[in-house]
């Protein structure tokens, strides 16, 4: 039994990992899961990259919330990402808080949690850390890298950073750069965390009280961007929460308020506020064109990878035009690209929900790519 493979794995890699900021990270801890079996020739591996607040528990029960894997309908035996055929790897990104190196990890220089001493990381740094993990697992070349939202940014960054290590990329509800509006929403979240007196400049790990109120507000603001107006209206409208009339006070009179408060609070049980700062920063810094001389097409000139992009018509966080911009750059670079905009009432979150069309496209793309 090779203990590098299986559920709930952890590895400490010596590093150092050279980061875009100029700093270096050592050691590099990575928490990950694998599903399925690596082929003799190592050629059947698919890497799944997770979104901002997701983690490595893509198809297994979450240890904190007890909820089933976040992409169960996509990953498993006979599913579009078929664990009978592929070795599927999903790793917690660096900067996060589910076991990979992040601000809550111990800084070897001080023996204390890093807090704000953790270096600022980028999407490309996350990808480089994943490449170190693949080296450890003996995977040279990925059959595919797949991700939605921030996972899609990693899936775009993979062939740009390691052109020879990836055969195909599936990029769902994502973008090649964060827009001013994307950055603006993230800044609201970060300021909410930093305004919480419990934040203490990030040095709260020994204090017994985390900046949960600030983190909850950050989550509430972000959560609105994951839904569509039509979806919110359909789900809540102006319905009142367990009452017959307005209270003329500031309780959660409306169901939508109650829902957001619940989302915010539940989030603080499973997520670290500093990790939220670091990962949102990484997303805001993401601009794949900027990393390649200002020309997005240049990011894809070295790679032979096939690309499949999917957007959703009600996603206003990473709208269809962002995917189209990537497709145009792929065309300019001569890369093989497929793209489809799917219809869904659920906004950005649609990529996490069961969608027969999305399943069909991804299944077909992964299976028949030759």
């Amino acid at each position: 039994m090779d203990n590098r493979f299986g559920l709930d794995r952890r590895v400490t890699l010596a590093g150092p990992l050279a980061l875009d900021s100029g700093a270096a990270l050592a050691p590099v801890e990575i928490a990950y899961e694998t599903y399925g079996t690596l082929a003799e020739n190592g050629g059947n591996a698919i890497l799944i990259c997770h979104a901002l607040t997701m983690d490595q528990y893509v198809a297994s029960r979450h240890p904190v919330t007890g909820k089933p894997g976040w992409w169960l309908q996509m990953v498993g035996p006979g599913k579009p990402i078929d664990t009978d055929r592929h070795l599927v790897v999903c790793a917690n990104v660096i900067g996060s808080c589910m076991g990979s190196s992040g601000p809550a990890s111990i800084d070897p220089a001080t023996g204390e949690p890093y807090g704000m001493a953790f270096p600022v990381i980028t999407i490309r740094d996350m990808v480089r850390a994943q490449a170190m993990l693949l080296d450890h697992l003996g995977i040279g070349r990925l059959k595919a890298v797949v991700g939605g939202s921030m996972g899609g940014m990693q899936a775009l960054s993979w062939p740009a950073t390691f052109p020879d290590r990836v055969e195909a990329a599936v990029v769902i509800a994502s973008t090649a750069r964060h827009s001013a509006q994307n950055i603006a929403f993230h800044e609201v979240g970060r300021q909410a965390i930093m305004a919480d007196p419990n934040w203490r400049d990030g040095d709260y790990y020994g204090s017994g009280s985390a900046p949960a109120a600030g983190l909850a507000v950050a989550r509430m603001a972000a959560h609105i961007t994951y839904l569509s107006e039509a979806g919110l209206t359909e789900k809540f409208g102006r319905k009142l929460q367990a009452r017959d009339a307005k209270t003329f006070g500031f309780d959660a009179d409306f169901q939508v308020e109650s829902y957001l408060r619940h989302q915010g609070l539940a989030f603080t049980d499973r997520f670290d506020a500093n990790a939220y700062l670091y990962i949102t920063r990484a997303m805001d810094y993401f601009d794949l064109a900027e990393e390649h001389g200002g020309m997005l097409a240049n990011a894809f000139r070295e790679t032979r990878a096939r690309f499949c992009l999917i957007s959703f018509d009600t996603d206003w966080l990473y709208p269809t035009r962002e995917s189209r911009a990537v497709v145009q750059a792929l065309h300019a670079a001569g890369a093989r690209a497929s793209f489809v905009e799917l219809s869904s009432p659920f906004g950005h979150d649609a990529f996490l929900l069961d969608s027969p069309e999305m399943n069909r496209v991804i299944h077909g793309f992964l299976r028949n790519g030759g």
Partner: protein
């Protein structure tokens, strides 16, 4: 699986190993045939998401989009052939789409139903109604064919735009028919164009 007759004509005349952009590629039937039989590197553009999904499921590279809006994003001369089959008459600006085809591709195949076919003429002349035929099955108010065109109209347009007709094929009942009086006798035309 046999190809639609106009697509079969095109498939027979695409050089093996070439690069092809199929605009309005549907579920990718022509692209798949070109890839499998002639080792063609085919890419597609298609409006309908269900068709895109079907084509991607065949392992083809297909992008959702429409000919009027999205051709401008393709680089100059990035394909040996641009193919526009039974789509020209559905575009908002057919003349501009033609220009785009020959900007993107070295050559262009264009196929369209001939609105001057005798059955169409008879329908208008004797019936006084917009024709509903096998090739043009929709009624006037729900047809996607917003720019009906005849073979002679098409010849005039390409001449006006300085485009060379390298070859042309005419179809009737799915079978080839001669060039003589094609504007009257042919239901369907396939043109091979170059600048």
């Amino acid at each position: 699986m046999s190809l639609r007759p106009d697509l079969a004509v095109i498939a027979d005349h695409v050089a093996a190993g070439s690069r092809v952009l199929d605009i309005g590629c549907g579920d990718g039937a022509l692209m798949a045939a070109l890839r499998d039989d002639r080792q063609v590197d085919a890419r597609g553009l298609e409006l309908d998401p269900a068709n895109v999904a079907a084509a991607v499921g065949r392992g083809l590279s297909v992008v959702q989009g429409d000919a009027d809006a999205d051709l401008a994003a393709y680089p100059d001369q990035s394909f040996d052939y641009a193919i526009l089959s039974q789509t020209l008459q559905t575009t908002r600006n057919p003349h501009l789409v033609l220009d785009q085809l020959l900007r993107i591709g070295g050559r262009a195949f264009v196929s369209f139903p001939n609105f001057a076919h005798w059955r169409v003429r008879a329908s208008l002349l004797w019936g006084g109604r917009m024709p509903v035929t096998k090739l043009l099955p929709e009624r006037w108010y729900d047809t996607p064919n917003i720019h009906h065109v005849t073979i002679d109209d098409f010849r005039a347009l390409v001449k006006e735009r300085g485009i060379t007709v390298e070859d042309a094929w005419f179809l009737n009942n799915g079978r080839r028919t001669g060039a003589a009086a094609a504007n009257f006798r042919a239901e369907h035309a396939v043109f091979l164009l170059r600048r």
